[in-house]
């Protein structure tokens, strides 16, 4: 089965119809969850970044900042991914033919790879090479900003 046929099958499924034909406030609710998830995902990353640049909490171990931020950030990631997935499943073909969505998905994969690498090894990397750790967090933040910009463009192309 080709990808287009698979997406067509999803789009004509009862689940997709159920969401698409439901009250428009359901999509609004999913959008709210999506935005909250993004904020909870990104805020701890900003905090870790500020700590790596020695701008805040300098007398507090980076390991603790990462550990505390990770829980909240993963909660945000799960919120934003699950709400995004439900919105996608409501009209997958519509999104499939949208180049901003394709760009967002490519950037999302990059952002998640950098994100996982950050939370797994940023503290150890900061001890060995603070400059590399700062570069890593900057790349991670930039990748999420790019995901956000591509996401906002979806409704306009």
């Amino acid at each position: 089965m080709s990808l287009v046929k698979l997406l067509n099958w999803v789009q004509t499924s009862r689940f997709a119809h159920g969401i698409a034909e439901s009250n428009h406030l359901l999509i609004a609710f999913l959008q709210v969850v999506h935005v909250f998830g993004f904020i909870f995902l990104l805020a701890p990353l900003f905090l870790v970044g500020l700590r790596l640049y020695r701008l805040v909490l300098t007398n507090y171990p980076i390991e603790q900042v990462v550990k505390q931020g990770r829980k909240l950030s993963l909660f945000g990631l799960s919120m934003t991914l699950s709400s995004g997935l439900v919105m996608f499943l409501s009209a997958p073909l519509h999104y499939y033919y949208n180049w901003a969505f394709d760009t967002k998905m490519g950037l999302l994969v990059l952002a998640i790879v950098l994100y996982v690498a950050q939370f797994l090894c940023v503290a150890a990397l900061d001890r060995r090479s603070p400059a590399l750790a700062r570069l890593g967090i900057s790349m991670s933040l930039l990748s999420w900003i790019a995901v956000c910009m591509a996401g906002r463009a979806i409704g306009f192309v």
Binding site: V35, F46, L47, V56, L57, C148, G151
Partner: protein
């Protein structure tokens, strides 16, 4: 300027993106501060340190949000002012600002308000909770604007 933003192909989504990124930084770091005031985030770090050190970045984020938000308003003012969630958004922002000023100039100035260690006074935790809830309501109202364009 409003027409140029509304008619430009990418001006509006770019401004929306900048608005959201500024929001993630400003409100995101503010929510982290609120969670610290409630005692559920970075409990080992003195609350005064979190509050003072994050403040410049929260204010910087808000500056970005206000500039982008104002430009977005210019581009669709006639649509926004008839949307029911829009006045509620500003009402909750006003309450959040009053709460922040009361915390800054009354609660935080009490000698026993922000101890280095141990549980925080109820007034501090309540101020954190109020800020968290009010900013959440601001975001909810903001996101609802396109979905509830006018009163029924």
């Amino acid at each position: 300027m409003g027409t140029a933003i509304a008619e430009g192909r990418f001006a509006f989504p770019v401004l929306e993106g900048i608005h959201l990124i500024g929001l993630s930084m400003a409100v995101g770091l503010l929510l982290l501060t609120d969670l610290r005031l409630m005692g559920v985030f970075l409990p080992q770090v003195p609350v005064r340190q979190v509050h003072r050190q994050l403040q410049p970045y929260i204010l910087g984020g808000f500056a970005v949000v206000i500039v982008a938000g104002t430009l977005l308003f210019f581009s669709e003012a006639s649509t926004l002012i008839v949307s029911p969630p829009w006045p509620f958004k500003f009402f909750f922002m006003l309450l959040a600002a009053v709460n922040a000023l009361y915390f800054e100039f009354v609660i935080a100035r009490r000698p026993e308000a922000l101890p280095e260690k141990g549980p925080l006074p109820l007034s501090v935790r309540c101020a954190g909770l109020a800020s968290f809830v009010l900013w959440a309501l601001v975001i909810i109202c903001g996101r609802m604007i396109p979905y509830i364009p006018h009163w029924a």
